[in-house]
Symmetry: C2
Subunit: 339 residues, 2 copies
């Protein structure tokens, strides 16, 4: 590969990850070059990537290709695959970040493999106990950042405190116009509600974090009143998937009912654009993907179904996160709470 | 009060619980008398109840009133209120079941107070470690029974095994035409996925329960492919509330968009009945409420917003549950697994 340590922000993009790789990934990379000032390293099968590049017009100074002979599949065991497939595109991405040749990595591949590879190769920020996966969720007001949504299934109160700190920093950095309110996901608003983990975490977070608004129940997430909502990774994953499942099922049912008879078909036709807007409003793919916080660099897991536009928004989020010095700020904030 | 030990099924109904008490509760009771062969004890402020009864026509032989001078409010601490307000309508209901004067109780009052009162007064079935709260959730296929949805926030694997046993029995008894598939809520389909509790519970349940289909992810709940889904009460409560929140928010947004302009208003008008049907399809209030399983009698927590129709369906579910000898069956199945 010919990537050099550059002054400009450089992103390592896994060209082989996701359902539409490599075509849509490469397309997305070139789209984002037009809108943002950065360099990109496309990681994967050289020949395929070069073929795709050869039919496009772009600034060749800003694009390089890093060879990866292997690809980790969705159905592989993440930890085993990351260790066995040393030369997989995900591993090459995380090594580029580790070696300082890229400031961040993006992959639409297996979430588990991306996390494992990033944690193993890039490593944690000093003082961070557990890196956590954070997701922006669109709401009727400002987006909500839910953290952790699956990196840590068994947590301790001080992990949740760190999730709160990291989530708050990311939110402030990406949405500087909002002063985020921090909440703890529970099953009742009073501080005595919830399981042991949540009750103890409540005490810890309330002592340490300004703007902590206390417990938030899951039906309040989409109200958008609380900006950063903290939970363990098992609960976060369950919540985000149940919201997705409910929305998908309702849209599916709506579609069925709209096709029911001629009257409903006409009604649906008249509502077409409104419905499309609604669906788009709650499409979390608009938000660039998931962020793995707490590692020594930026790592974004784009949605597996990402097409070029989603990749472009992941790149934008990666650049904004690097520019706002999220990693450095997490390091300095976390160190304040170290015993 | 003049309730007698009767051969006929008798239900103790808390006339003072819920947003529309006592009017809609009494109305619902009288509606259900027309459709089911049972006796009812209305529990609460005698004068109010008698006033409501006096303006209705009904079979006086089948209705009695049990006096309760107190009422537990939604915002009271459940355990404290149950202990302090000895003469609350909820406590009188559970005592009627305890004394064998009623086979089951129904309340639309505070969930925590109903559970606490039932567990304290009626007591557990021998061998049951923790009573659990079960909810039927409508899906596009058969309904799903989610258990536990909030009675136990910190669980052990053998609690979850018991939830599976109790949920399976309730499902089989209320929907005898379906052979229920039992699943465990987790964040991945493989048995190695999930937190410690879920992984250990998976091993235990898979050894003990026929028709155990393994892990189910939360976005699959509404597919209706798995009939009984087991989880700890913190996760169950979070999941059910996030599904409710998502559905409510989407319907709210739909309404907003429909009112956007004249074209969308006409479209919405043409779809009115289809939308109403859809909303009704996913209205969990149609299913009679939550069941507290594992106590020595039937205890149903009707929705706080219950009107007469919802109360009528709670009564129907209570009668069916009593008729199918759910309590006896839970006792005998649980005893098979006792060490």
């Amino acid at each position: 590969m010919d990537a050099k340590k550059l002054e400009k922000i450089t992103i390592a993009l896994d060209a082989m990850g996701g359902d539409h790789a490599p075509d849509e990934i490469v397309k997305g990379a070139l789209l984002s070059l037009k809108e943002n000032d950065f360099n990109i390293i496309l990681v994967g099968q050289e020949e395929k990537i070069n073929n795709l590049l050869s039919i496009q017009k772009y600034d060749e100074q800003r694009v390089s290709v890093a060879k990866a002979t292997q690809r980790i599949e969705q159905d592989e065991h993440p930890a085993i695959a990351v260790k066995r497939k040393k030369d997989s595109s995900i591993n090459i991405c995380s090594k580029l970040v580790k070696d300082g040749l890229a400031g961040g990595m993006i992959s639409a591949g297996s979430t588990g493999a991306v996390m494992t590879s990033a944690i193993l190769n890039i490593g944690r920020i000093k003082g961070v106990k557990r890196p956590a996966l954070a997701a922006f969720i669109p709401t009727i007001r400002d987006p909500v950042l839910l953290i952790d949504i699956g990196a840590n299934v068994d947590c301790k109160p001080n992990y949740l405190l760190q999730f709160a700190i990291m989530g708050k920093i990311l939110y402030e950095n990406l949405l500087p116009e909002i002063k985020p309110k921090i909440g703890l996901l529970s099953i009742g608003e009073e501080r005595t509600k919830g399981n042991h983990l949540v009750q103890e975490s409540h005490n810890l977070i309330s002592k340490s974090i300004k703007n902590f608004v206390g417990n938030v129940e899951s039906h309040q997430i989409l109200s958008g009143k609380t900006n950063v909502i903290v939970c363990d990774g098992f609960v976060g994953n369950t919540v985000i998937k149940s919201m997705e499942g409910t929305a998908e099922m309702l849209f599916h049912q709506l579609k069925d009912m709209f096709l029911h008879n001629t009257v409903s078909k006409i009604g649906a036709y008249l509502l077409k654009s409104a419905l499309k807007n609604l669906k788009k409003k709650f499409d979390y793919r608009e938000y660039g993907g998931l962020q793995l916080l707490g590692i020594n660099g930026i790592c974004i897991k784009a949605h597996g179904r990402s097409k070029s536009k989603a990749i472009k928004s992941s790149v934008k989020v990666a650049i904004d996160t690097i520019n706002s010095k999220t990693t450095t700020r997490i390091g300095s904030e976390i160190s304040k709470y170290l015993e």
